[in-house]
């Protein structure tokens, strides 16, 4: 029909114009994007350091690191499977668990504590000494270059990094950078750190955990935001690419000070959240290394042909935490709530069978333990200190009777992204039922976790604690001292002892204090420790050079290479 034809043609014209208009709008929007990963900024000119007369510090004998036998790697690529996306890079932000796995290869620390010998090894710092109880002097390695042409690592960078953390109370403040009064660069390679109190564990805590130095020049010129997506380090690998949710790529840094490291040239970190899928990828050869294996797969992969099953006792533990009134919001805990009674908490600690938990949730890969101090640290005593691993229901019941509590209902929170905790809570809930205690479990996701845990909004909670520094202080201080990071209101906190132990310069006296602290913790149960979980990794058996770190969030690739 005539009418129809005219209509249609005209209509298409209109539609075409509209379409072009939309297309133009869309393409201008798209222009504003950069679909490729952010490229590295152009490096500035090399700075000329101001000449400063050097001061030699009193040398401290430092145990020499055994030089690794230098065998080149047969292959130059490596694929490491991550279980979660990296939240961010950058020297001053939270890196989560997967961030450090990548980051440790990009940055270097002043010193690094070996998880085998428990001694700090030189890395960026070659010598360090305690001049007087509150002054530490560090001598840096010479000739270490920053990535991408940002110059040489000097004492100024150390000064800048530590001062920044203190001034901005940035991420490592309070855990790695403690009690710092000021930092001063004495010469190009010598730094002086002045503390507010003596701190024997300075090398382990500040030089290791707090010791990742950032490049002053790059940070100032790039700005914090740019630095976070384009980290500049001085390690054997340099940052190459990060596609959020998909993968991270790092490449060998050609000007690294040790010509024998690294052995591989490129490392790709694909992000595969599902553990079974990750395992399948490993078995197929799509990735070469993984961790965070599902407990149920462990019996099968222990004997898996062609793979190395690495399990080391972990410097971590699972614990059930109680909130105390009035620190915790009254909505969750009041002063007359049963969990405020010491005997009730002890009863729970007696009622649970830690062995069953380790077997059920971790398939035996762990050690039931009621003590906060893992083996090898000052103050360690073999477990069980008080509570038998299989549990003791009779004692538990009599303690409840002693407290005059028949039973009660309580809510326990656990982190949803750690389903093994939720499983553990399910087991615990079942184990305390005979006491008349009904636990309702709420699995909260990250954002909510912050809101509930750190804003004092919970009755009971389960968390996993990893020691960030190889020092007893880091497994006691932040949890058991009033006002400290993870303190949840325990009124009887042994503050004096904790402060004393930290500042104590005599190791024997320190050990005594730690024992006293532990005894009180075991007795009063502000936390119920269930056990140390083994850190398990699985990788292609042709790979060597992995160091058996006792925590999940450290990974060094310096000497990793292929033998076949």
């Amino acid at each position: 029909m005539e009418k129809k034809k005219v209509t249609r043609r005209k209509f298409l014209k209109v539609a075409g114009t509209v379409g072009l208009w939309l297309g133009a709008a869309a393409s201008s929007l798209l222009e504003a994007c950069a679909p490729k990963p952010t490229p590295a900024p152009a490096p500035p000119e090399a700075p000329t350091p101001a000449p400063v007369p050097p001061e030699a510090p009193t040398p401290t004998p430092v145990p020499p690191t055994a030089a690794p036998t230098v065998v080149p790697s047969v292959r130059k690529d490596l694929v490491v499977g991550l279980h979660a996306d990296v939240p961010s890079f950058g020297a001053f932000t939270k890196l989560g668990e997967t961030g450090p796995k990548v980051n440790e290869s990009i940055i270097r620390r002043l010193a690094r504590v070996s998880h085998e010998t428990f001694q700090p090894e030189p890395e960026l710092a070659v010598e360090w000494a305690m001049e007087d109880p509150t002054t530490w002097v560090i001598k840096l390695r010479e000739g270490v270059q920053w990535h991408k042409g940002w110059g040489e690592v000097t004492a100024e960078d150390v000064e800048y990094t530590i001062n920044y953390i203190v001034e901005n109370q940035a991420y490592k403040y309070g855990t790695g950078i403690l009690n710092v009064d000021y930092v001063k660069a004495r010469s190009k390679y010598v730094v002086e750190v002045k503390l507010t109190q003596p701190f024997l564990a300075f090398p382990q805590v500040t030089m290791d955990h707090g010791g990742d130095i950032c490049c002053k020049k790059a940070h100032l010129e790039m700005g914090e935001e740019e630095y976070k997506i384009n980290p500049i380090g001085c390690g054997p690998f340099q940052f190459e690419e990060w596609v959020s949710g998909s993968h991270v790529i790092i490449k060998k840094f050609p000007d690294y000070w040790n010509p024998d490291q690294p052995k591989v040239e490129e490392v790709v970190f694909p992000i595969i959240p599902d553990a079974s899928v990750r395992l399948a990828a490993l078995e197929k050869g799509e990735i070469d290394w993984m961790d965070r294996i599902n407990g149920k797969d462990i019996p099968r992969v222990r004997e898996l042909e062609g793979f190395t099953f690495e399990n080391v006792p972990g410097w971590n533990w699972d614990c059930l935490a109680f909130g105390f009134a009035p620190y915790i919001d009254a909505k969750y805990v009041t002063e007359d709530f049963p969990t405020q009674i010491k005997e009730v908490r002890q009863a729970i600690s007696y009622a649970i069978s830690r062995q069953d938990i380790i077997d059920a949730v971790y398939y035996g890969e762990g050690q039931p333990s009621d003590s906060p101090i893992p083996e090898g640290f000052p103050g360690y005593r073999p477990w069980p200190l008080k509570y038998p691993p299989e549990g003791d229901l009779e004692t538990a019941k009599s303690l409840m009777a002693q407290a005059g509590v028949d039973g009660f209902d309580a809510e326990v929170i656990g982190l949803a992204t750690m389903p093994w905790h939720v499983q553990e809570l399910e087991v615990i809930a079942e184990q305390v039922k005979p006491l008349g205690i009904n636990l309702s479990i709420t699995a909260v996701e990250e954002g909510m976790w912050h809101e509930r845990w750190y804003e004092h909004n919970f009755t009971m909670g389960m968390r996993e604690i990893s020691m960030v520094s190889a020092d007893t202080d880091s497994c006691l201080y932040w949890f058991h001292r009033s006002g400290a990071k993870h303190w949840q209101g325990w009124p009887n906190a042994p503050d004096e002892w904790l402060d004393g132990a930290r500042a104590e310069t005599d190791p024997e006296k320190q050990k005594e204090l730690y024992i006293k602290i532990t005894d009180r913790v075991i007795d009063e149960c502000p936390y119920i420790f269930t056990g140390h979980v083994n850190v398990i990794r699985l990788y292609d058996e042709r790979l060597t050079g992995f160091r058996p770190w006792r925590v999940y969030f450290i990974m060094t690739l310096d000497d990793v290479g292929w033998t076949a």
Binding site: E2, K3, T7, R8, K10, F11, V14, A15, V18, L22, L29, E31, A32, C33, A34, P35, T38, D85, V86, P87, S88, G90, K94, N168, Q169, A170, Y171, K172, Y173, G174, T175, E224, E225, E226, K228, I229, V243, S244, G245, S246, H247, V268, P270, I271, I272, P273, D274, V277, A280, A281, K284, E286, E446, G447, M448, H450, E451, Y454, K485, H486
Partner: protein, 334 residues
């Protein structure tokens, strides 16, 4: 006489004006929809307990530091100021930066959006490829075995949860038969390795397309049956037209409009609904970006994703409207 030339051309131009006006009205509605959607999500996420600053700061941070960082991020401004400032920047193409990772939001989204879009489109094409023949056969052989078979299958299709279907596919194709990989699609470049990409994409595409296929088939079938029982079909049959002709030309036309609606709705909702499938197959797409951002209270990213989802919604509906008119010019512009 009604058929005089002047009358016809007048009618044509009136129609043209109506059309243009209608289209313009629809286009004007686009920003309205985007604003409403983003506003509601903005309010919701701000009402959510949990502070995005926690993702950046150490836990030892004092209230003072929290205050400083909130100020830096602009989180202490009144809500309407925050929203309007976001809206202004967004309309100029600046979606801000992720609080958590500092990556530009636009980059984050554009890194992940194409994958989701490709998978959804593939699922849609697959569903059409299956549902059109199935619907036609079912209507043609109404009451006989093929019809019952199709009806049975589609019944299963609308009664099975998406993740259930995904699990069955995984169990059979990936675990038992070891034919297909389950996850890792993020690392495959579709243009460079199309075959490998296809292997990773088959299961997610089937899963995404399942419900849609079943729905489309049923819809097609019932619309065609409706049409087939109309008078004019009997007339056409009486005139001796071939069955095939009747089916495809006349009966099928009747189904086109609802079909377009279903597909448009699928696109409109699909970008937001792929979350479950992405989570099962480890696909780094828009859905997983969104849900991670919600968990981390990463407000700029949530807003950015919502922005894109809303855009998809209106564009899909607009395209559907244009197609309606193209298919059936009898439609009046209301």
């Amino acid at each position: 006489m009604v058929d005089s030339p002047t009358h016809e051309s007048t009618m044509a131009s009136i129609l043209e004006v109506e059309m243009t006006a209608y289209l313009l009205r629809r286009i004007v509605q686009i920003p309205f929809v985007i604003v409403v959607t983003s506003l509601v999500i903005f309010l919701l996420i701000h009402l959510t307990p949990g502070d995005p600053v926690n993702e950046i700061l150490g836990l030892h941070a004092t209230p003072e530091m929290v205050r400083v960082w909130r100020h830096k991020l602009g989180l202490d401004r009144p809500l309407h100021v925050q929203y309007l400032s976001w809206l202004w920047k967004a309309s100029h193409g600046d979606l801000g930066q992720s609080i958590r990772s500092a990556q530009p939001v636009l980059k984050l989204i554009l890194d992940r959006l194409p994958l989701t879009f490709v998978l959804i489109t593939l699922a849609m094409l697959f569903s059409l490829a299956v549902s059109i023949p199935a619907g036609i056969i079912s209507a043609w052989k109404c009451g006989k075995f093929p019809d019952y078979a199709v009806m049975f299958l589609t019944l299963i299709g609308i009664s099975m949860p998406q993740f259930g279907f995904a699990i069955i596919l995984i169990m059979v194709l990936a675990l038992r038969l070891d034919l297909l990989p389950i996850s890792g699609i993020g690392l495959v470049k579709p243009l460079q390795e199309p075959w490998r990409f296809a292997q990773y994409a088959i299961m997610p595409v089937l899963t995404l397309g399942l419900g849609l296929t079943a729905l489309e088939t049923r819809l097609l079938r019932s619309c065609m049956l409706d049409a087939l029982s109309e008078e004019y079909i009997r007339v056409a049959r009486a005139k001796g037209l071939r069955e095939y002709f009747i089916l495809t030309r006349h009966a099928f036309r009747n189904a086109l409009i609802p079909l377009i609606t279903v597909v448009a709705t699928y696109y409109a909702l699909g970008m937001g609904a792929s979350i479950i499938v992405e989570s099962i197959f480890g696909i780094p797409g828009l859905g997983s970006l969104l849900i991670e951002a919600v968990w981390a209270r990463d407000i700029p990213v949530v807003q950015g994703c919502t922005f894109f989802i809303a855009i998809f919604f209106v564009v899909a509906n607009l395209v559907a409207d244009i197609l309606y008119v193209y298919v059936d010019p009898r439609i009046r512009f209301q």
